[in-house]
């Protein structure tokens, strides 16, 4: 999907980051899902914004895969009129990645939310404190280890008459 319009075609970055980009999966309805090494995060964000023209960061999502944590960025390009998903796998013991606020200031609250809910720390974030949860809350509700309750037991117990 290397579009003619400026700012589309994430594979253009493959040459720039031969090691850092782990792959680009097709993702229907978007320009693709780009998997990258968290080490190149900030440089990649800069390139995505400046070279590809994805000026709008729409979403930062954290996903707990138990062994790893995934952090997913959705960025939008006005020129190409499409989204691009950027995804990085972080180690579960100390999940951290460079904050995107330096490139997209709109990442601010998204990263605060991901930090408190999925326990992903964002280095060099200007204001990393609780947003939705009370200050000093000890838990990270969106981790798989945070159990709401066990699924309901629906087995009917038949009594002996």
């Amino acid at each position: 999907m290397t579009g003619a319009a400026s700012g589309v075609g994430p594979d253009r970055l493959l040459a720039r980051f031969p090691q850092g980009i782990l792959g680009i999966d097709p993702f229907p309805g978007t320009a693709g899902r780009l998997r990258f090494d968290p080490a190149i995060a900030l440089e990649l964000f800069r390139e995505v914004r400046d070279t590809l023209g994805y000026t709008h960061l729409a979403m930062v999502a954290g996903i707990d895969w138990v062994q790893t944590r995934e952090v997913l960025y959705a960025v939008w390009s006005d020129a190409g009129r499409r989204y691009l998903l950027l995804s990085a796998q972080l180690p579960a013991d100390h999940p951290h990645i460079e904050s995107a606020t330096a490139v997209w200031p709109s990442a601010n609250w998204h990263e605060r939310e991901a930090w408190e809910l999925v326990d992903i720390s964002f280095d060099h974030h200007p204001d990393l404190r609780n947003l939705l949860l009370p200050t000093g809350y000890q838990f990270h509700p969106l981790l798989r280890s945070f159990k709401l309750h066990e699924p309901e037991e629906l087995e009917v117990k038949v009594r002996d008459v």
Binding site: R33, L72, S106, L131
Partner: protein, 378 residues
């Protein structure tokens, strides 16, 4: 002096706290505190069947429940590899536009109330009731509809609905003139709102602000046009934009959007009149297809091997760009549902459009942002 505007304060229109540092009447700094309405919808969703999550989506934003249902269902359909029939897509367009009208009229009512205008508040509530009546007549509920399904919508429109809806459209178009006369016709309105809460286009893009706030700054981005979903590529409408990025601009954009929504509703009604058909996809897996399937050993609580998938959907919600990311790991519960609320981001930019104005400007500015705390906190 720091003052807490909230969590119980008439300005907030919900449950949140805007901490404001003021010097006399001048605003020096602001700090929104969210989370009072955090219900953990994303977390609860990990524990629910797809069609049960729709119930939660209604509660995400209580004035635009239908839009959030559509958002989630679109994401879930992609994750579950389901395609809805065309009629369902049109009904979704119709529902979403009725919902957008309802949401914008609700915004209008609350916004003029913040300005101190009393009568239009009641006019707005009166007219919104007609839209709720319409929604009620085919979903059975006025706020929490639970109408969309993965693979379509729950039921078809009742007979005579399209005529009733057209009458409401006529009535509303008349009323919009009245709304404008009460606001734009008033010198005090212009004195209060012109050049207030300005957020320029560059700042909007930088801070991720979307929706009417972005379009009021002159950026013509509307996902219905730029990245059409459902049947939006088949309807004819214009994207409302304004210049200036101030409160008046946001007012103009929303009023124009309401007019365009009426236009879309009419087109959808015409199409639906001409093209009867099924509104729920056939041959859905049983645990998806039957909305009221019996729960039990044979019901949907049994894990099964379903093809995995990822879903990503983006819609133009009444407040702006809303995204959903749905991870399907092959069981009847989504592994993760991530929702992105437009107001969440619009609020995070509060410092940019509040500092430098006066305390009395906070209600109109925050009113023009159109806050729905339910979807910010989720």
């Amino acid at each position: 002096m720091w003052i807490n505007m909230g969590p119980q304060h008439p300005m907030t229109h919900g449950l949140w706290n805007l901490r404001v540092r003021i010097d006399g009447e001048l605003i020096l700094d602001v700090d929104p505190e969210m989370g009072y309405l955090h219900r953990g919808i994303e977390k609860i969703s990990e524990d629910r069947h797809y069609n049960e999550i729709i119930t939660l989506m209604d509660r995400t934003c209580y004035v635009a429940g239908m839009a959030w249902e559509t958002l989630f269902v679109l994401g879930a359909e992609q994750a579950l590899h389901v395609t809805p029939p065309e009629r369902a897509e049109w009904i979704r367009v119709l529902s979403e536009e009725i919902q957008r009208l309802g949401s914008h009229i609700m915004w209008y009512a609350a916004f003029v109330q913040d300005l101190g205008l009393m009568s239009p508040f009641l006019y707005g509530m009166r007219d919104r009731d007609l839209l709720l009546d319409l929604l009620q007549s085919y979903t059975g509920a006025r706020m929490t509809y639970e109408y969309n399904r993965v693979g379509g919508v729950r039921n078809d429109l009742p007979s005579g609905f399209t005529d009733r809806a057209r009458k409401v459209c006529d009535w509303l178009e008349d009323r919009f003139r009245e709304y404008d006369a009460l606001c734009l016709g008033s010198a005090i309105f212009h004195k209060r709102c012109d050049g207030l809460g300005v957020l320029k286009a560059a700042d909007c893009v930088r801070l991720g602000v979307t929706g009417p706030m972005l379009r009021s700054a002159g950026v013509k981005r509307d996902l219905r046009k730029d990245r059409p979903y459902s049947a939006y590529d088949r309807v004819d409408f214009d994207v409302a934009v304004a210049e200036g990025g101030d409160v008046t601009g946001r007012y103009l954009v929303r009023m124009e959007e309401m007019r365009q929504s009426v236009r879309i509703v009419r087109q959808a009604l015409d199409w639906l009149d001409r093209n009867p058909g099924p509104c729920l996809a056939e041959n859905l897996p049983r645990w998806l297809g039957a909305p009221y399937a019996p729960v039990g050993r044979e019901g949907y609580l049994l894990r099964r091997n379903y093809p995995k998938g990822l879903g990503f959907s983006a819609i133009e919600e009444p407040h702006g760009e809303a995204l959903a990311y749905v991870v399907n790991e092959g069981v009847e519960h989504p592994y993760r549902v991530k929702l992105k609320s437009p107001i969440f981001v619009n609020l995070s930019a509060a410092k940019e459009y509040l500092v430098g104005y006066r305390v009395a400007d906070i209600p109109p500015i925050m009113g023009s942002v159109d806050i729905c705390v339910g979807e910010v906190d989720r």
